[in-house]
Amino acid sequence: MAEAHITPPRLTLRRITKIYPGCVANDSIDLNIEPAEIHALLGENGAGKSTLMKVIYGLVKPDQGEVLWDGMPVEIKDPAQARKLGIGMVFQHFSLFETLTVTENIALALGDDAGDLPSLAKRIREVSEKYGMALNPDREIHTLSVGERQRVEIVRCLVQPIKLLILDEPTSVLTPQEVETLFVTLRQLAKEGCAILFISHKLDEVRALCHNATILRAGKVSGECKPADESSQSIARMMVGDDTPISTDYPKVLREEPFLQVSGLNRVSDDPFGTDLHNISFSVNAGEILGIAGVAGNGQEELLGALSGEDQVENHDAIHFPHGAVGHLSPRERRAAGMAFVPEERLGRGAVPDMSLKDNALLTGFLTGLVNRGMIAHGKTREFAEKIIDRYKVKTPGTEAHAESLSGGNLQKFIIGREIMQNPKLLIAAHPTWGVDIGAATAIHKALIELRDKGAAILVVSEDIDELFQISDRIGAICHGRISPIKPTPDTTINEVGRWMAGDFDEVEIKA
């Protein structure tokens, strides 16, 4: 690092400030990235990471502050100019056209710089081989896995001269093995002199990969460190501050009395690019948490739709509660039989954005005495909403606040609280802490464990493998619409589940 004093940093941000109506997204932020450095940008949701990235990539114009590129002041007006400087960005949500090939997609992104397609395809092949990212330029996007799609996005940045690569939560869509492969590529890139800005909230990965880290909290830089010298706990402290509890370990249990039994569930997806379910069989016992891992798009949506009752299955017996088959029952009838459900989308499925919290409490709570002869018991509904807010510490002005005005974490606490307060015998939760800050995630985990200890069967479907190992009593994975073996959590390893997530398992025997 001695040479850093001689050559100027690749990128310097000085006192970057961006104010949105009602919130200071970035408050006087300083950041230095050297050539060949892998720099982590850490922070909870809403800490200002996304805004800062967008400033660097020319998507957002800062209100104050300056940007220095190789020591020279620049004003990055738009992404095209950023690309010209040598800045590439891989977004968390890919913007690829499903029905076009890899080459065509990259050509569209590059615009006039793409050149003719055959020579671009050649360049793509060269780059992908050089960095160990196998990729066939002629394949159409819809045939690719999520990990391969991410390679398309990365290769798109690398076919042009690149000096700074920004990656936004790149590992959230990958299996642990794919993460390792990605890290090899990134280390090789850095060795060649490319600076990398790595945005993440997975602290173990940051410690394994990054040279330096800048930590943001509430729009300000709250700390800088060398991740390798710190513990995950100490970095988490810098992210959340002193007064928020950080997650703990929960004792595991083993139970034997099944509540939800899925056997031989087959379903053809309604979505042409969806995943069909093949012979899914598993059971969730009363008093335990079953975790199902998997990379997005491997049939989770289809499985959850069949379990919630939004999509009914032909073979009624494929989904079974203790009192009988439920495959043909509507969501409402399944709720009446003791099921509660936390969907992946908070706004627009779990809660109505444009309705008050009180109305949103009624949305699924209507079976618990809030409706009397067809009329809404407004007093009781308000009380119910107040209890949820109070018990699960939802930060909101009151029960009349609209769901859309709440932050992701607060709304998720409200939705999970709403489901748990109905005393379900079975709770199905999809990605319960996705995009939620650490404080809220800890509160949500605690609530799930409490419900488990009261004897409820809980199914958690999540892409976050660390979370599943933390709270699940038994764990399995879903890949290409097939389910892996399911093992008690202490008897398996992250590596084994990672292999399951990649489809490396023999299919489970189906009971007759």
Binding site: P21, R334, G348, G350, P353, L362, L363, V371, G374, H378
Partner: protein
């Protein structure tokens, strides 16, 4: 230059001010139009908006015009809340008038208190059936209700014209396309002697109260609102979407049908080809002008009824074409849609200093 800037959240204040702005802009445009036509703008506006209601008779006529609009609009507020775009209140109104008339004519020799309720019920069933057709097409074949209800409007109008020229024509009517006058038992009694105001206005007010309770207090109304705001949340909660679409359309159709039968059994007393000067279409404007809220709809209805009367008055006293009514309705809707942009956006004039604009924003947020 003026710039539009997203507010970040809806402005409740603007949601209610927007109809007021639309009204003011319509008045200003109307005044300019009158001036161009060579009329004194103030006098013309006076003729249009004040003269019609300057005596008891005028006020009573206002209520006569308001009743069918109010019934249609309050029914539309239910379907529109469910985001089911029923454009067919006009056709449902006509079918209500037609079936109600058929019932009244079949019972022309009958006497008794039961005749009128039966006639009214027949009208409501007629309107509900017509809306039910659209519900069936939507829920079974996923046919867009905007198209089906518009087409059903024309079918209803032609059915009505066929009926008054054919089976329902008065045999003693010198071949005029009119039915016979209904018997007294089938007529809605008037409220005040010497005017045409009848019990239909009370039905309309009662409907407003019932729909208000339905939408704000009942679980059915709640489900309808959830369906409109967020259909995937409704599905996850287990609300039955198709059933709700049926219910909303049937309510809306029945109320429009009641409006139709209220016309033939009320001020008209017989079936004629022109039972509605477009009340069903005007009700769409009224429903949005009133923000789909019962009180708002009541106020918007009175304004719309006034424009109908003003158009007739302007034709009589100023010699202006009666198309004026449609023109004013159109301007009102046009300006309303334009002003509604302000609910989600604020106007910003960059020339204005930034701090002043920020202060304005803070003030607006405080109001919200």
């Amino acid at each position: 230059m003026i710039k539009l800037e997203p507010r970040g959240q809806h402005s409740k204040l603007m949601a209610w001010l927007s109809p007021v702005f639309a009204g003011i802009l319509t008045l200003i445009s109307g005044a300019i139009l009158f001036a161009l036509l060579g009329q004194d703008p103030l006098e013309a506006l006076h003729t249009l908006l004040i003269m019609p209601v300057s005596d008891i008779y005028g006020l009573a006529e206002l209520c006569v015009k308001a009743a069918p609009i109010l019934l249609c609009a309050i029914g539309l507020s239910v379907v529109f809340k469910a985001k089911v775009w029923n454009i067919g209140a006009e056709g449902q109104l006509l079918m209500g008038g037609l079936i109600g008339s058929a019932c009244a004519l079949a019972l022309i020799d009958a006497e008794g208190f039961w005749v009128l309720p039966l006639v009214l019920l027949a009208g409501m069933v007629g309107g509900a059936l017509w809306a039910g057709l659209a519900a069936w097409l939507k829920t079974s074949f996923n046919a867009n209700e905007i198209l089906t209800t518009i087409m059903l409007n024309y079918i209803a109008l032609n059915l009505l014209i066929w009926a008054v020229h054919g089976p329902l024509k008065d045999p003693d009517g010198y071949n005029f396309p009119e039915s016979a006058m209904f018997s007294d038992s089938a007529l809605i009694p008037t409220l005040i002697d010497g005017t045409r105001i009848h019990f239909g206005m009370l039905f309309a007010l009662l409907a407003v109260v019932i729909i208000w309770v339905l939408l704000s207090r009942s679980f059915l109304g709640f489900q309808i609102k959830v369906l409109g705001l967020d259909s995937s949340a409704a599905r996850l909660a287990g609300f039955r979407e198709k059933r709700l679409v049926w219910i909303a359309l049937l309510i809306s159709g029945a109320l429009a049908g009641l409006a139709g039968v209220g016309e033939v059994a009320g001020p008209l007393g017989q079936l004629v080809p022109s039972i509605s000067p477009g009340y069903g279409y005007a009700a769409i404007i009224v429903a949005f002008l009133g923000r789909l809220h019962p009180v708002g709809i009541l106020l918007a209805t009175l304004l719309m009824a006034l424009i109908y009367m003003g158009g007739e008055m302007a034709q009589i006293t100023l010699g202006l074409p009666v198309a004026l009514t449609g023109l004013f309705q159109g301007m009102l809707l046009f300006y309303l849609l334009a002003c509604d942009v302000l609910i989600n956006f604020r106007i910003r004039i960059p020339a204005l200093s930034k701090s002043a604009a920020d202060k304005l924003a803070v003030k607006e947020e405080a109001v919200n």
